[in-house]
Amino acid sequence: MTETMVQIVDVVLLILLAITGIAVIRTRNLFVAVMLAGIYSLVSAGLFVVMDAVDVAFTEAAVGAGISTVLLLCTLALVGYKESKPQHTTILPLFVVIVTGGVLVYGTAEIPPFGEPDNPAHQNVAAHYIHDSGDEIGHIPNVVTSVLASYRGYDTMGETAVIFTAMVGVLLLLSRGSLPKRVYHAGHWHKVKRGMTREDLIAEMEDEEAHDSTVVGGEDEEDG
């Protein structure tokens, strides 16, 4: 691709990104917002491809536009599609956003030009990876894989552990888990029979409570 073509693609993608960003802010329908956020991720993935970061683009398209959109839709099924009107004025948040954005734009003035060979990022270990990874790691044309899995094996191990930890955290918070063998409620133990659902158990306990009028002040235990 020639230089001007790249610039045209960049401008078109950035305009699309800005349009979807503004649309996400303006819409009150959360379903629309989630879908637009997915499109935002996909357009960012396109931008990453233009910047030759195909591995990042791949991840952004798969996770940002795919899985996280589905997870957000699952959440919407629980909380509803309507966003309530804000109860405070939007002037202070707008001020904060404009100031932060201004500082960020000011900061880009110091960033070295994109893709220049004598940028700091290319001075350190990158040259070594590109020159010597063929001898050290073997014939792996994608240097990103060599760096990720071998040179930076510790980092990737940490990332894998972080993903695993995320699962443990979400399961502890959200999962209802399996039922215990017996449950103490209103003065006695209830045996949980095989194949019994949580709803069955609650119904049985309420049933017994209605019969057992002698027990006064039986605590209403929440399940879970």
């Binding site: 699952c74 994608n142 071998s150 552990a161 993903i163 695993f164």
Partner: protein, 144 residues
């Protein structure tokens, strides 16, 4: 759910190809973009798609939640296992050059080590993505 024939047939026709594509992304990671993380997400996407079309219960019969949890842990164990193996072989932790005998070409060990850890990443990411989806989709709305 029963009258959406195009969705159901389309899902069944596409699923094996998406799984195959995930494996392609996994094993082509040495030569082009891709690798364990992306492949794991694509692999999990098949089961998410299946659950969206056929319902969560049927998806949990195809891929039980416990299997997904086990995958999440197994991948990390596989990654660590490759690391420890290279350590017991006389190298440093995660130094795959020592995976084979000393007279062997060390880049050979590097190659297989990378395949091993990438497989670990794939298994963990797949398991975690499916588990996260099950955890979110398995909750019912509670009206307070």
């Amino acid at each position: 759910m029963d009258d959406r024939v195009i969705l159901r047939v389309g899902t069944k026709v596409l699923s094996p190809f998406i799984l195959l594509f995930a494996l392609y992304v996994q094993f082509h990671g040495d030569y082009g973009p891709g690798g364990g993380f992306q492949a794991g997400v694509i692999f999990a996407a098949v089961f998410v798609l299946y659950a969206l079309v056929f319902g969560l219960e049927r998806a949990m019969k195809v891929m039980p939640a416990k299997v997904a949890y086990a995958c999440g842990a197994l991948g990390v164990a596989l990654y660590l296992g490759v690391g420890y193996l290279s350590m017991f072989r006389g190298g440093e932790f995660l130094n795959y050059s020592y995976l084979f005998d000393p007279e062997h070409d060390p880049t050979h060990g590097q190659h297989y080590g990378i395949i091993g850890v990438e497989l670990g990443v794939l298994v963990t990411v797949f398991g975690v993505m499916v588990a996260l989806f099950y955890a979110f989709a398995g909750r019912r709305r509670v009206d307070t």
